[in-house]
């Protein structure tokens, strides 16, 4: 996904001389090398200095530029949090903060590199918009949208590498709207980000059992598509939320809140990371399983 991001950003920068990227000693490979060699003035590496990464991006935006700030998600959002709040959100500047490798993708690097609370934290900020594409194709759409929008700041949560294409046949991507990857009538799985691949596996198994399944990419976490979620709650007997995020303040807790607000009568199950720092190592799947997120466990609960 990071290569897709860099390819898309390179194309946007070629079309628009106001597109900048400020990175903190981490650079997406591939096309980003082309970006930095062809547009060296618009590729700024601040080094291991995330606070100035955000402040510099804010200064660029104050002068009419369209900057992206890019590093590993924990360092792009948590370390410079007050700069994001004051410089970007308070001033409402069109800066995209890219959180790369969010969730537990950095599965052997330990808790310092796990991003479990980013959606809640970013969503709590006034003016902030939050996007989390589920595959490389959605990453293209989201990056393109970020490069062209003037609403205000965006937190763009992306994966790292090797994510499968899941949305080739899906309906068009639209900012702020749920996107159905498939439509059914009994069970609706709401998810976003890299873990959508697991949700596809679960949906396939349910479909093989003759269950009618909707699968939805909730790629825009803020503003959340309340109308779309309300419709999903009303049109399915069973709604399932799967997210690679803490139980507080992410999609699951918001869907529960909407369900209460609209007096939904469907069954609602949520599957999230645990509210815990774990000290496990292995593959991303291993860590997700340690958090309780595995196809087997989720399918067993869905029944």
């Amino acid at each position: 996904m990071r290569n897709t991001f860099s390819e898309t950003l390179y194309a946007e920068a070629t079309a628009n001389p106001d597109v900048y990227i400020v990175v903190a000693d981490i650079s997406p490979a591939g096309s980003m090398a082309k970006f930095s060699s062809e547009y060296p003035e618009r590729f700024i590496n601040v080094g291991v200095a995330e606070q100035s990464m955000i402040g510099i991006a804010a200064g660029l935006a104050l002068k009419g530029c369209q900057p992206f700030a890019y590093t590993i998600a924990t360092f792009s959002l948590y370390r410079p949090f007050e700069m994001i709040r004051d410089d970007l959100c308070y001033q409402n500047l069109p800066v995209t903060v890219v959180g790369m490798g969010a969730g537990v993708i950095y599965s052997t690097l330990g808790g310092t590199h796990h991003t479990q609370e980013d959606i809640a934290i970013a969503s709590a900020l006034p003016n902030m918009q939050v996007l989390a594409p589920c595959d490389p194709l959605e990453c293209v759409e989201a990056t393109r949208w970020c490069a062209r929008q003037k609403n205000g700041p965006v937190y763009l949560r992306i994966g790292k590498a090797g994510e499968p294409v899941l949305t080739a046949q899906a309906e068009p991507w639209q900012f702020g709207k749920l996107r159905y990857l498939r439509r059914g009538s009994e069970i609706c799985i709401l998810t976003y980000g890299v873990i959508t691949a697991m949700a596809v596996e679960i949906a396939n198994k349910l479909t093989a059992q003759d269950r009618s399944v909707s699968l939805v990419s909730a790629h825009t976490l803020k503003p959340l598509d309340r109308e779309g979620i309300t419709a999903a709650l009303q049109q399915h007997r069973h709604v399932v939320v799967i997210e690679e995020h803490a139980p507080q303040g992410g999609l699951a807790s918001q869907v529960k809140q909407i369900a209460w607000d609209v007096r939904a009568t469907c069954r609602l199950d949520t599957f999230t990371l645990r509210d815990a720092f774990i000290h496990n190592y292995g593959s991303t799947s291993d860590l997700l399983a340690a958090h309780g997120l595995s196809p087997e466990r989720i399918l067993a609960t869905i029944g």
């Binding site: 606070q51 700069m83 004051d86």
Partner: protein, 271 residues
């Protein structure tokens, strides 16, 4: 303007007028950051009235008040320039006004929201990069507090400005030697010598009397210009009013009626 034509007397007259206006506003509110505004009065005056081209909304140059709590002086200068109105300043910190204790982006003449220390210089670096990228010759001026140099984020920006060779950045440190809990030189003696630290980080530096308008102007106009410039300006917190000078209590306070009258008398004698 050449050094020879710099009118220091006119600058002093303006600064006296600015201080009097700030004192007037102080009588409308229970507290304001008067000490830190008086310590950088001459610096902000020279930036706007002598260094920036066409000061006001159409200036190609930018001023960002990194020490946001000092913005009373910025407000009164912008009032004289016609960017802010008298009604704006009279409504300072009131429900029907738009000016608060810290500068807010979106208000006329305010280029960035500050107030939390350690944010300004990074935004200055970004602005300077944008000017360079857009092939414009805009200069970016800023004023930092000395306490602000304790923020790690300030040093991140210091490192970047010189590494990027941003020759269009001119920064001042309002080195009044005071922060909330005491003299900066006593709480953080290792901060000094301050100028040498910026020099070591690749900046051109100058150290001057921050209440001498001609020296402020000279420090900028005589720079080599091949690197960003940091002017360490020795200043006095509460400058111009005897009982406020170097008295930490005047960091954030309004004078009583008697104190106000005394302050006006003292300013008159300095004319």
């Amino acid at each position: 303007m050449t050094q020879a034509s710099f009118d220091a007397k006119a600058a002093r007259t303006r600064c006296q007028r600015y201080r009097r206006r700030i004192l007037d506003i102080s009588q409308r509110v229970s507290a304001l950051h008067i000490g830190g505004a008086f310590s950088c009065t001459e610096i902000v005056d020279v930036i706007y009235n002598e260094l920036m081209r066409k000061p006001g909304l159409s200036s190609p140059d930018t001023f960002l008040m990194s020490k946001g709590h000092g913005c009373m002086i910025q407000y009164v200068v912008l009032e004289e320039l016609g960017v802010l109105s008298r009604a704006d300043l009279d409504a300072y910190c009131t429900p029907h006004g738009r000016l608060g204790v810290h500068p807010d982006y979106g208000n006329p003449g305010i280029e960035a929201s500050t107030g939390s220390l350690g944010h300004g210089l990074s935004m200055v670096v970004g602005m300077a990069l944008a000017e360079r990228g857009k092939r414009r010759d805009g200069m970016i001026y800023t004023v930092l507090s000395d306490g602000e140099t304790q923020e790690g984020s300030t040093w991140e920006a210091v490192l970047m400005a010189s590494s990027l060779k941003l020759t269009n950045v001119v920064a001042f440190i309002d080195n009044n030697d005071f922060q909330s809990l005491g003299r900066t030189s006593e709480t953080h003696p290792s901060l000094y010598p301050l100028g040498a630290k910026f020099e070591a980080f690749g900046w051109e530096t100058a150290e001057i009397d921050g209440h001498d308008p001609a020296a402020i102007y000279r420090a900028v106009s005589s720079r080599k210009g091949d690197r960003p410039l940091m002017v360490v300006a020795r200043t006095t917190k509460g400058k111009g009013v005897s009982y406020m000078e170097n008295a930490p209590i005047w960091h954030y306070r309004s004078p009583s009626q008697d104190e106000y009258a005394q302050a006006l008398r003292e300013l008159e004698t300095q004319a």
